[in-house]
Symmetry: C2
Subunit: 235 residues, 2 copies
DNA sequence: CTTTGTATGAGTGTATCCACTATTACAAAG
DNA sequence: CTTTGTAATAGTGGATACACTCATACAAAG
């Protein structure tokens, strides 16, 4: 569940949710920043209530932290937590490709090559929307698993680290290394060996973690209270 | 995340959350059943608001499904979805043991044997609280990974299938096969080989799925709308 | 007897209001 | 100048109130 198209709910709460999510992903709301319902409500021309319920959803997704009587803050991740999320995502995406393997046909492989090509172009142009292409690439692959909950979890993990990826890419601008590795993944899928594809995907996902971590460490970034991801809410 | 002790928040919303969660896990609220805020609020001597926010949390954990303007129903799982959850849990718990391996010392191993012994006793007595012992066993192992988000996700997955496990165990009463396999897991941990332990844990988790599925199929159980799980997380 | 339209009621989503908690700023005492 | 107590204010959690949606039952028309 997450970003990909959702069936248009038109409810105010949903609007609030999407707006806040967007602002967290984009980095407008920084980790540690306090979110005041009153303010956001006015901004979106609605009352505090739908905003509060949106906070709940965001909290369950680990993007925000709600301490009783102390309000809602954008949850920052420590470097250890970022590592943890990459570890989790690596096994989940590994599982996803493995389960997806029987469903890849010639058309799908062609489409995959297309995605990679688009990433190359985006990467050359500048890292800004390379991130979106990269997420689409992964989403496309995982989509073939046809396991909605698995797909949703993976999407959530992408989103959780997105703000950090964004600042990183903003500074390095050249994620060429990753694009190369992408080819490896496609190649592994082409072999038709599910176990192999799983292993390659795992490696591929994990390879990003140390680079991002090193960047953040140098930058002294990554502070803020931890969260509670999917599972639930407040500590 | 979820059941294990939580730091006592004393807020009404939290109380509602725990109460409803409990009633879903225990099977008091059946899949497909509609949850009416008004009713539950009266039952817990509070207003509808905290109940609604509790619904949000439960929805993000996939235990409940909220359709706009149509209320909140306990989300049932199809057999395919149950399989999916076992697949996901297998890789996550596999990851958890692998990461936990360096932390198992003699004391931990002794404690593990203790857990298994308790499960044997509980299994002999009757399947009722064997389920609790089994969850504790897994939670204990995963706990050593020291990765809170990973642990929380795994716990959420245990909870999601709990109602189904419960009716199953109520009918078969003898999960002896599983208890034997438990020993294999402990044995694998004892070897100190992380990769091996991961593989064994994966097998162990997956082994339950087909048995549970077969039971449910015969019983014609498992209907109800799907959910959106943890992805937690997200949308 | 079937179909279609309408009305009534239950239930949901949002807004407003109130009580209480936490936090900040400030003042008095050391 | 530091520390500690206290008051004021901002903000949260919860309750109540209201408008709108959906569903059901019933009635009229075919």
């Amino acid at each position: 569940m997450s970003f990909a198209s959702k069936g248009m709910a038109a409810t105010a709460q949903d609007e609030a949710y999407r707006a806040i999510l967007q602002d967290i992903r984009s980095g407008r709301y920084q980790p540690g920043e306090r979110l005041i319902p009153e303010t956001i409500a006015r901004e979106l021309a609605m009352s505090r209530m739908p905003v509060r319920e949106a906070f709940q959803r965001l909290a369950n997704e680990g993007l925000v932290l709600i301490r009783p009587n102390r309000g809602c803050i954008v949850s920052g991740l420590t470097i250890e937590e970022i590592y943890e999320l990459f570890e989790i995502r690596s096994v989940l995406e590994g599982l996803a490709v493995r389960l997806a393997m029987p469903r890849f046909d010639a058309a799908a492989l062609a489409e995959l090559d297309d995605h990679v090509a688009r990433m190359h172009r985006a990467g050359a142009a500048g890292g800004a929307d390379w991130l979106s292409r990269h997420q689409e690439f992964h989403a496309y692959i995982c989509g073939f698993s046809r396991h909605p909950k698995l797909i949703a979890q993976i999407a959530a993990l992408h989103i959780a680290v997105e703000p950090y990826m964004r600042v990183w890419l903003h500074h390095v601008a050249q994620p060429a290394y990753a694009t190369e590795r992408q080819d490896e993944v496609v190649e592994a899928i082409r072999t038709g060996d599910a176990e192999h594809a799983e292993a390659v995907m795992r490696d591929h996902v994990l390879r990003t973690a140390p680079r991002l971590a090193e960047f953040l460490r140098k930058r002294g970034q990554a502070v803020g209270a931890s969260s509670a991801l999917p599972a639930s809410t407040q500590p």
